[in-house]
Symmetry: C2
Subunit: 336 residues, 2 copies
């Protein structure tokens, strides 16, 4: 039985750190969780739609933790012209995030018609920016669309983008369904997917009435979770960590209408080690957190390492105002 595990510092290719006081509270926890590099999401208020905003956001985060390697992405919107994309590429911005309108937190300014952005996608291919996609269609009762089937119904949009822009790297974020996993597996090498910790653990039953497990996309059927587990167990380089860790104050979760989001950042590697061991693929953890993603994104290897040891790790009841994932439970692995 493995007693300790040394890995390169992890990359989290999908992270929410919010703004202001919340940002200052949660940024110091990222490296505590074993993550040294993160791609921060642009669905702030207002969203990050310019090169200047993205760089300022990166600087704000790094003023809290100068040792954190922060990658940025722009919120896809009409402001993103070809010129902005080219400047973004020059400025070292990593990607552009596509939020379909109305599907998740702060997506009210999201995209109603993906086809309207073909010029942007062409410029991104040229500039080497990665397209990150929240892959869900909006619920529509008349078409029998709801949060349970919204992800598979979005896949044709990704397929079209992939066909029209074969050079464009696309990450289907936080996949939750067997259909999305199968799509990514059979697509070309410029399509990859992130997987969260919590979607490897949860099914619909686990967020029914359990507010701290409620996120978007919602966790689905057991067979969907099994497909996600099989994807990480396979060691396929197309799947890597994008935690979607999203802090909300307790009051915004334990209330009549709770915010969507699961907070995993402070114990990212302990959660993952605990989960991968239960699934039976602990030997695939290092590639999932520190190899597959950086190869796809074409960023440098981590210089530093982190060690986990088999020692009970009690998940705190809260970090300040934020209740973490699996609060009060005990994980099998701790950070050294």
């Amino acid at each position: 039985m493995l007693e300790s595990l040394t890995l390169p510092l992890a990359d989290d290719f999908h992270l929410h750190v919010r703004q202001g006081a919340m940002l200052r509270d949660v940024v110091p926890l990222i490296r505590q969780g074993g993550v040294g590099r993160c791609l921060v999401m642009p669905n702030t208020v207002p969203p990050i739609t310019s090169v200047e905003q993205a760089l300022a956001y990166r600087d704000e985060i790094q003023s809290v933790d100068p040792d954190l390697d922060v990658l940025t992405t722009l919120y896809l919107c009409p402001e993103l012209t070809r010129d902005v994309i080219m400047r973004a590429g020059d400025a070292g911005i990593t990607g552009v995030k596509l939020y379909p309108r109305g599907v998740t937190t702060h997506s009210d300014l999201g995209v109603a018609d993906v086809g309207a952005y073909d010029e942007v996608f062409a410029a991104m291919s040229e500039a080497g920016l990665v397209l990150e996609i929240h892959g869900e269609v909006q619920s529509d009762a008349d078409r029998d669309i709801c949060v349970m089937n919204a992800e598979p119904l979005f896949l044709p949009v990704v397929e079209r983008l992939h066909r029209h822009f074969p050079a464009l790297r696309i990450v289907l974020e936080h996949v939750t369904t067997a259909e999305a996993v199968a799509f990514v597996e059979r697509a070309g090498e410029r399509i990859a997917a992130t997987i969260t910790v919590h979607h490897l653990d949860l099914i619909v039953d686990d967020w029914a009435g359990q507010n701290h497990n409620f996120c978007k996309p919602v966790a689905k059927y057991p067979h969907d979770r099994a497909a996600l587990r099989a994807a990480v167990s396979s060691g396929s380089p197309k799947f890597f960590l994008g935690s979607d860790s999203a802090p909300h104050p307790r009051d915004a979760k334990e209330c009549a209408v709770g915010c969507a989001g699961v907070f995993t950042s402070p114990l990212m590697l302990p959660y993952l080690a605990d989960c991968f061991e239960r699934i039976g693929c602990l030997e695939k953890l290092a590639a999932f957190v520190s190899e597959n993603g950086r190869r796809f994104y074409d960023v440098l290897e981590s210089r530093d390492c982190v060690t986990l040891e088999r020692r009970p790790c009690d998940v705190p009841k809260a970090y300040g105002s934020v209740v973490p994932y699996r609060a009060g439970e005990t994980l099998a692995w701790s950070m050294v």
Copy 2:
């Protein structure tokens, strides 16, 4: 446009009034909602498993509202012998409720093996007791069973009971899926179903993060809701009101792990009139609430009437500690 609507006082064939202080708080609200007769559920703590308990529970409820017609049902468990069933019939007890183990509030003492109760079902047929069923199998990830598909998977159990005990009247409670509606429609005349107000309104999206809409069974897909609406619109005598109205204090809903249950009792007929009108079947409301159920249960016609008028009805933010369904919204119909 109809301006007022006079109906016989309604029957609610599935109602939770709980115990103690909560019972005293919610019982007076039942007739305010236009319901004159109700079948109260036996999943109290401890559950109602004897004739004496059932009669005492009825008396306790009627001590709060002597004008309420209270029907009782026993919790199916090993204490229910043939002798108990015969005495229950003589004592005027209406039915027996089958809770599969572990599927809902206070079902931990529920039935693990339905087949073990064939003697009870035979006695019930003889005594004329109705079997009410919470029709869900327990979630089991290994068999891909979760709250979204647990109801259709239970239908074979009901089918077997119906075949083995053709004289037994069976009510499939709070149906939520197109499969359950189709099953009830094609089954013999001794199979009927109750439908709640909230399942006519809600889909999975509506309880995702929205704690006051979370109930068991959970609301499902748009096509399932459409099937429920079609069932009530059809005017089929096999479908009638069983609200499953279930009061929980606000603290037990707006918290980390919320209780399942939607509280509709105080405005039952206004909710239903509002809903039936939106669906376009207001003319079917009277039979749904005061004819189909009493015919199936073979109980007397209501002596009293109630009138609704088209006048905005503001749903209170709370009744004491309990937040009602659609709190703060405005319904199109009011009780006179």
